[in-house]
């Protein structure tokens, strides 16, 4: 089969790495503003009608946005089964924490305004805010742990993945910093959306939170960058890496060097686009939010979110999940993937389906364009 298709296994794996990157960026940009809006809900809205306006900004689209996460999970399962097995079982209790937020969030959206009772509504408001905050934090902490390495090994004869860490071990200082960056970044992003899609008091408050969170994000992101460059061991493959062979993560040697995660940026300077977008996008977003530009501010904050996610992906390449316990067993793009046939079939499916998804999602956003106002949430068809 491989002779018939002008794509070798090694290239196919890198393409899948790019597809995963695209899905992660799409998730962070699209569902990111849902999480950010939830996080800043109590900061930007006080009265019930203001809360409802905020709910209805994301109400029509959050369900579709969340599918980027579901598809991301499905793609990791299909394209890197070992990564899926190790990450989901290793981070078991952190995943449970995330699941609590993902289970409650749809209910918050759908049920909050179904009853007129004030206590009912304020309970769901508080829950939604917590869901946004905790989910954003857990995603960031997971990224932080990936950068510092995760304590796992494989049983060599069965390839059974075994996690050796603890739940509280995930919350070391650097991963917690990453969690805070994630929260601030999405709060900026949610603020940018609200400053565009709402009016009056809500928009005014969102302009304040948007500028604050944008500046905090930049400061913390730069701090994390220095930390990675000067205080954290990066992983690199030392011996030959078999990029086109059947997946076996135990067939390589890996070394740790201080600041090693910066090696890709020295090797491929074009990768600086990630951190530059992350910083410049946020600064631009802060400026544009202040100028009340609406959509451009949101685009700038989207660029920042994308840049920050890319920064992480670029630094790690080709690693997917480094092992702090047995670095040689780290999972990389080339030794933890699915079979050639499976990757190829999935690429065909994704190549056909993803553009269709993008087209109809864009159409839905077009239909729902315009500001959300007291009048527009007054009818029977709103949250």
């Amino acid at each position: 089969m491989e002779q018939l298709i002008p794509l070798d296994y090694a290239t196919l794996r890198v393409i899948w790495w790019a597809v995963l990157g695209f899905l992660l960026v799409a998730f962070a940009v699209m569902d990111g503003f849902d999480l950010g809006v939830a996080t800043i809900l109590p900061l930007v809205s006080r009265k019930d009608i203001e809360r409802r306006i905020v709910f209805n900004v994301v109400g029509p689209v959050w369900e579709g946005n969340q599918v980027w996460l579901i598809v991301g999970g499905g793609v990791v399962f299909a394209a890197w089964p070992l990564l899926y097995a190790m990450a989901f079982s290793g981070f078991y209790l952190a995943m449970m924490l995330l699941l609590i937020t993902l289970i409650l969030r749809p209910i918050c959206f759908k049920y909050r305004s179904k009853l007129p009772d004030a206590r009912w509504r304020s309970t769901w408001d508080a829950l939604l805010c917590l869901c946004g905050l905790v989910a954003a934090l857990v995603f960031g902490v997971a990224v932080g742990n990936t950068i510092t390495g995760v304590p796992f090994v494989f049983q060599p004869d069965t390839m059974r993945p075994l996690y050796q860490g603890t739940f509280f071990g995930l919350f070391q200082p650097f991963p917690v910093l990453c969690g805070v960056i994630s929260v601030c970044m999405l709060a900026m992003h949610g603020s940018a959306l609200l400053s565009w899609k709402t009016q009056d008091a809500v928009a005014a408050r969102a302009r304040v939170t948007g500028r604050i969170f944008a500046l905090v994000t930049v400061a913390l992101f730069v701090l994390a960058g220095f930390w990675v460059a000067h205080g954290i061991d990066g992983f690199s493959v030392t011996g030959a890496l078999h990029t086109g062979q059947e997946s076996n993560p135990l067939d390589k040697t890996v070394a740790l060097t201080l600041g090693g995660w910066m090696a890709n940026y020295a090797r491929w300077p074009a990768m600086w686009i990630g951190p530059v977008l992350g910083v410049a996008g946020a600064l631009l977003a802060a400026a544009l939010i202040g100028l009340r530009t609406g959509a451009p501010a949101f685009l700038a904050s989207s660029a920042s979110v994308a840049g920050i996610v890319l920064t992480f992906g670029f630094a790690l390449f080709p690693f997917l999940l480094p092992s702090s316990m047995d670095p040689n067993a780290s999972l990389t793009v080339w030794d933890a993937s699915s079979s050639y046939v499976s990757l190829w079939i999935m690429l065909l499916a994704t190549g056909v389906l993803l553009p269709i998804v993008i087209v109809y999602t864009a159409w839905v956003y077009r239909v729902m364009r315009g500001k959300v106002t007291e009048q527009s949430v007054g009818g029977g068809h709103a949250y």
Binding site: G59, G74, H381
Partner: protein
């Protein structure tokens, strides 16, 4: 090496969360289709009552849909969280339909479900109808891909074991998609969802009629539900039988257990109408049998014998012994991938490797298994018979009840006599929980009947679990217990409130005041 408490707790957690999830899925499947039908009638006839029906039942659909989405994410996560070795072992095949489900189906339904609710005053009539149909299409496609994944667990076609990567790998994706078990399961499952949607509308409407509220609205809803439900109930049983027929091809042990057939009977086998199965002594007490019926259902012939549990255990024993050889070949290939002879032997025998893994439960070293261990492993392929025997009968009995119920409902509804038979309306109301009972029973038969396998003949369930601790499981189970109990209470509260409030009536006075906002009279304003 295996912590069986963790395995059992993981199984319990998966079973509980998936059965909970499946309280909402079939109602979503059924209602989405019924909404699309109602709205089609509205667009074609232009009569406002059909729009109000779509809006009202759509509201109830939304309350249910939120719970389906919330509990569905859990399922995707749990394969990796609790079944890490499973994810590694079969992710190459099993992951693909899940990922495609997200891309092709869940995106579609989740993106358009927002427009279904928010788009009434932003889309043209036809535009909104298309959105509703896309939601229905998305939910049904979603079921298709999930059942392709599940069908592969029942009948793992199109894949081979690769000793170098220590996992199953995809060879023929066409075989995975067109797996006959998956196709039969899909039709059976979505039909069951349609029955549930129809009974839901029948039950709620019957309640309105009994209270003499929203009479025109309820009568019309019942006409739609009765005709749709009758077709669905027939399809569920006819195509459910198809599913049983296939089970005998691929999962002979499951059908033997469902029928409590301890011994192979001469063809054609009789159908056990009633019995109390006794697992320990492998006999049935107090059995009442109908001659010939089972043989005909199971094999579609009068001469092919149906295998009993005794015979199937003997066959399993042969496969365990062959599996030991496959396991030894595997060790040779792992030690030296260049060993061509061992690889050739392994490739000829890999299909029995899973049977050798059954031995790990009884001996740490498969190569040193004693004949007694082999007997135990073969015997372990027999699932618990009595629970399967009974849940199967609950499902089948309810399946026939639904046909009868909808036949009567259809006759009464189409001749306009529903209101004259309050007794039938009460039956309709009290039938509300039955589709849930039937559907959960059906899934119990399908999944519990597959034990001890998680992938039929390939991977034993206990072998597939993650290396978690009992404490992890206790914490996660407690979280699910609290969260899901809370959701059940909140969901029931919101649902009952919406039902009690009932649909907007045009003369109720509230609707006209909202005309400019909710677009009752002007759905075309957005264009």
């Amino acid at each position: 090496m295996f912590n069986f408490d963790v395995v059992d707790l993981s199984r319990f957690q998966f079973a509980a969360t998936v059965m909970y999830h499946f309280l909402f899925v079939p109602l979503t499947l059924g209602l989405s289709f019924l909404l699309a039908i109602m709205e089609s009638v509205y667009v074609m006839s232009g009569r406002d009552i059909w729009r109000r029906m779509t809006v009202f039942w759509g509201g109830l659909f939304g309350i249910n849909f939120a719970l389906g989405v919330a509990t569905g994410i859990v399922m995707e996560f749990q394969f990796g969280m609790n079944w890490a070795y499973y994810s590694h072992y079969v992710g190459d095949i099993f992951g693909a339909p899940l990922a495609i489900e997200g891309l092709m189906a869940f995106f579609l339904e989740a993106t358009f479900v927002g427009l279904f609710f928010f788009g009434w005053d932003r889309l043209s009539k036809v535009g909104h109808l298309v959105v509703t149909w896309l939601v229905a299409l998305g939910t049904n496609l979603s079921a298709l891909w999930i059942l392709i994944a599940n069908g592969w667990m029942q009948n793992p076609v199109g894949a081979v074991f690769n000793p170098l990567t220590m996992r199953m790998e995809m060879k023929d994706f066409g075989a995975v998609i067109f797996n006959p078990v998956a196709q039969a399961k899909f039709v059976h499952t979505v039909s069951a969802g349609y029955v549930m949607g129809a009974i839901f509308i029948m039950g709620v409407s019957a309640w309105y009629l009994l209270r003499k509220r929203h009479v025109e609205f309820a009568k019309r809803s019942m006409v739609v539900a009765a005709s749709f439900g009758l077709a669905a109930a027939l399809s569920v049983v006819v195509l459910g039988d198809e599913s049983g027929y296939l089970t005998t091809e691929h999962q002979k042990m499951k059908i033997a257990a469902m029928e409590a057939m301890w011994k192979t009977e001469p063809a054609p086998a009789s159908f056990n109408l009633f019995a109390i199965p006794d697992q320990k002594h492998e006999v049935n007490h107090f059995s009442i049998e109908i001659p010939y019926v089972m043989g005909i259902i199971g094999t579609r012939s009068l001469t092919t014998p149906l295998l009993g549990i005794d015979e199937l255990v003997k066959r399993a024993r042969v496969r365990v012994k062959n599996g030991i050889l496959a396991y030894e070949d595997l060790q040779k290939v792992r030690a030296n991938p260049q060993d061509k002879a061992a690889r050739k032997d392994f490739d000829a025998r890999w299909r029995d490797l899973g049977y050798a893994l059954l031995l790990k439960r009884f001996t740490p070293d498969i190569g040193k298994a004693t004949p007694a261990d082999i007997d135990k492993a073969a015997q372990s392929t027999v699932p618990q018979v009595a629970p399967l025997y009974w849940t199967f009968r609950v499902m089948v009995g309810l399946g026939f009840y639904f046909i009868l119920f909808f036949a009567v409902a259809f006759w009464l509804a189409s001749t306009g006599r529903l209101r004259r038979y309050p007794r039938f309306l009460r039956i309709a109301l009290w039938s509300l929980p039955l589709p849930w009972l039937a559907i959960e029973s059906g899934w119990f038969v399908a999944e519990f009947g597959r034990q001890p396998w998680v992938i039929e003949g390939v991977l034993p369930t206990y072998y597939a679990a993650s290396g978690l601790t009992v404490a992890d499981l206790v914490i996660s189970l407690s979280i699910f217990l609290v969260l899901y109990t809370g959701l059940a209470i909140v969901g029931a509260k919101v649902m009952l409130r919406a039902i009690k409030a009932g649909p907007d009536e045009p003369d109720a006075g509230t609707a006209p005041a909202e005309l400019p906002m909710n677009g009752i009279a002007a759905p075309q304003t957005a264009a």
